[in-house]
Symmetry: D2
């Protein structure tokens, strides 16, 4: 029955227009990612999978993307190279792309009380396999920090405005880097890290730390740049910082790419 | 031609199940709202329109909602009562609901330099006409303010964490109240108002004002409650405050209804 | 050190304004929920926790919410009653609320090929413990289905417009109901269920099923109403359906509560 | 007073790290854009403004962005070149960027009844002025259309699944193009256009049009490519199409850049 059905996607297309990316987008999927302290971490990803489409095919076979994904039962991160190869082969394509985004949790101790809490970081992993079988992987993390305005502190006779900021970093690696390390490097670059659980003595400590360590949005991207430039395993990075200003209803923003 | 087409929506339904609300949702629409200083303000709304459906009808006529909306060329706020009546009549319903949400802009002077900037406030207007032809209107505004933590200020030897907060207030009115007044009352209830344009001398002023005026999320909803309780034109209100904590990646929240 | 710090939250408040809900909002947290076929399922929730605040307290202790949450290591669903009790006791409150929202995955077979794919359903669980120690739990699910327009089918000489719809159902239960059952009941109420993986023979089957089974948004909420009214374990429900119309850029919507 | 305040932003930075973009993000602002039929259209934009920051400055002056914006009273589109020049000059930068996104409304007639309704299209306008004073402008529109699956139609004995799709197109222009024209070209490339108001006779027409005109996501990006390739005024474009599949809970997607 199935074989008798026409396969429109395989039919010829005469418009002579190859397509850069075609595939499935916004698949929600439970995954298991590598975790330095617990070995494995269960989380939920939003996944996009694309291949290129040569000009002579009318369409790609969308269900095959989902079949390939299902084979790996959520262990995407460590199998990304293999998945990309399967995508190229089974979809008769010359390039393949996979993009995933997921929350990642790290247990973090409060600075004084040492009370433990879970912090969530939004992570991204993009993989690409091109027509020459070269792979390209980009790892991204979004790290919340506190920023305290140097100008406000300098000109005010008491206090200083501060706010939550989000630092978004994407990197290409020469060799393996733990998400935990990347996040830790970035957290040190704000006025203070952010925590999920703080007791009173911790709140005092982070308030004073931020006050002693004022940083513009520009200072944060420069501090991250200085830090990541020294990490040999990182061959390329882009850093963005967005301050959700406490005195405005808009954000301050800075970005640089190296 | 048209009249020969069957009208399935009008056909009988025998399941004996009346429906509370049926209609159109998420219509984006340019509107003109009343503005105290400029008379009229152009903005863009997201609109929902519903009626009830008696058990004996199979369906409502969705296109009539859009036709009714189009008659008023975006002057929805001052015609809401009439629109609700039309909805009941033309859709043969016993109750009608309209919900709209739109950004509203007010020119605001910085506290010291008097530099002018436009502040955006998200507003809501919900109207209902029931089976007894009683109307019910609820006006809502979301007002960003700065909040500075009293605990952090008290226990820290320098500084105090602060952040952007959003105060959401919904009211029922005995008589007309300008959006501008409602927003102004609410803005006075945070540690400091928020501005779109601040020069250095203003930044000093708002920093010090917030420091001198520390408020928990609980203090803000209580301050709004005290303020609104004294306004005779207001017969009911609900106030919510959410602090986008600068030391956490989650919010502090409080709500009360009177 | 800690004990010498002033506890501002415990200090007296003289404004005589009790607060309905105060607490923490939008905590992202990895959880483990009950799963009928696999016993346990790992997922990630967004959690809100609130208590009421008597008029004589200045503030609540926000960190205690997170401490209570951490005690249960993500096993929230089966411990919700106990968590609510702890919240009341440790925060000296007379009522407590917990709200969680999480994606839930079910393996589902395609209708003809029997190919297996994971479907995601957004779920909600709200619990409340009131001043009389009465609990109230509401379970909610969002279920995507296909809807095919009866009017379009009737009046057109070929085809019929159809689209993805979202059916949102919230229920109160007399006795335990599996999420899997609730979802299955709802999926039978659209023109066709939705799948993550369909081979060509399946695509033919769901296309024809939807065409043979046309339903307005009103029909879907009525079908769900008929179905759930027969389930003895359900004491209350609200059903909403939103059709993301393929011929409009807005939605058709219906809601009823029983 | 103001002049005595230290200007920290102007102070020297010795880390030798220039920043690609620094500025303000997510300013909501009422604007007036050019409209072919009505001359002017009032709408509301979300605006980002950035400049580069030479390595020797500690920070940029965020308030100046807002001051520049305010000078133009919302007439941003026709003054973008001048705004970019002002940004470079007043912020002592070598490059400047402005990004705005706004809903744009066009009155559109239903295909048979000629009933008029307002359609909303999300638009984007990005401008850049580089270190050599070269400008670069990109105009983007998001256009909803109906897509009807050719495979589903071919293999099914009745009906065919269809859904709302979003076509996103960004272009660089050699000479001026009206947003209205760009949208019209794109709308012709789906299985059927989408309308805000359709009477029964129109619903029949669009249902049959879509059925007679089945298109994969790949067909839509190719049809847009064929169309835009013939427009001399367009020197570059990127086209994306996302189908919010009615038989899945994820999207089909295609993209190409020329």
């Amino acid at each position: 029955m199935k074989n008798e059905m026409p396969d429109l996607q395989q039919s010829a297309d005469t418009r002579n227009i190859p397509i850069d990316k075609v595939g499935v987008k916004d698949i929600h999927y439970p995954i298991v990612v590598m975790d330095r302290s617990q070995e494995k971490q269960h989380t939920v990803a939003r996944i996009n999978m694309y291949v290129d489409l040569p000009h002579h095919f009318k369409g790609t076979h969308m269900s095959r993307f989902v079949e390939i994904l299902n084979q790996y039962r959520g262990e995407i991160d460590r199998n990304m190279g293999e998945i990309l190869e399967q995508m190229k082969r089974r979809l008769e394509a010359s390039s393949a792309h996979i993009e995933m985004e997921f929350p990642y949790f790290i247990e973090k101790e409060a600075p004084v009380s040492k009370a433990k809490g879970l912090m969530e970081y939004s992570c991204r992993l993009h993989g690409q396999l091109d027509e020459n079988d070269q792979t390209d992987f980009v790892l991204g993390v979004s790290v919340p920090v506190t920023s305290l305005c140097p100008c406000s502190r300098e000109i005010s006779s008491r206090g200083a405005h501060n706010q939550r900021s989000e630092v978004r970093v994407d990197i290409r690696m020469e060799s393996f880097i733990w998400i935990e390390d990347l996040i830790m490097w970035i957290e040190q670059c704000g006025s203070s890290p952010v925590y999920s659980l703080l007791k009173r003595e911790d709140e005092k400590a982070v308030t004073e730390l931020a006050y002693d360590n004022p940083m513009f949005v520009e200072d944060i991207v420069r501090a991250v740049t200085e830090k990541l430039s020294k990490i040999d395993e990182i061959s390329w990075f882009r850093v963005e910082c967005e301050n959700f200003e406490s005195i405005h209803n808009h954000s301050a923003y800075a970005m640089l790419e190296r």
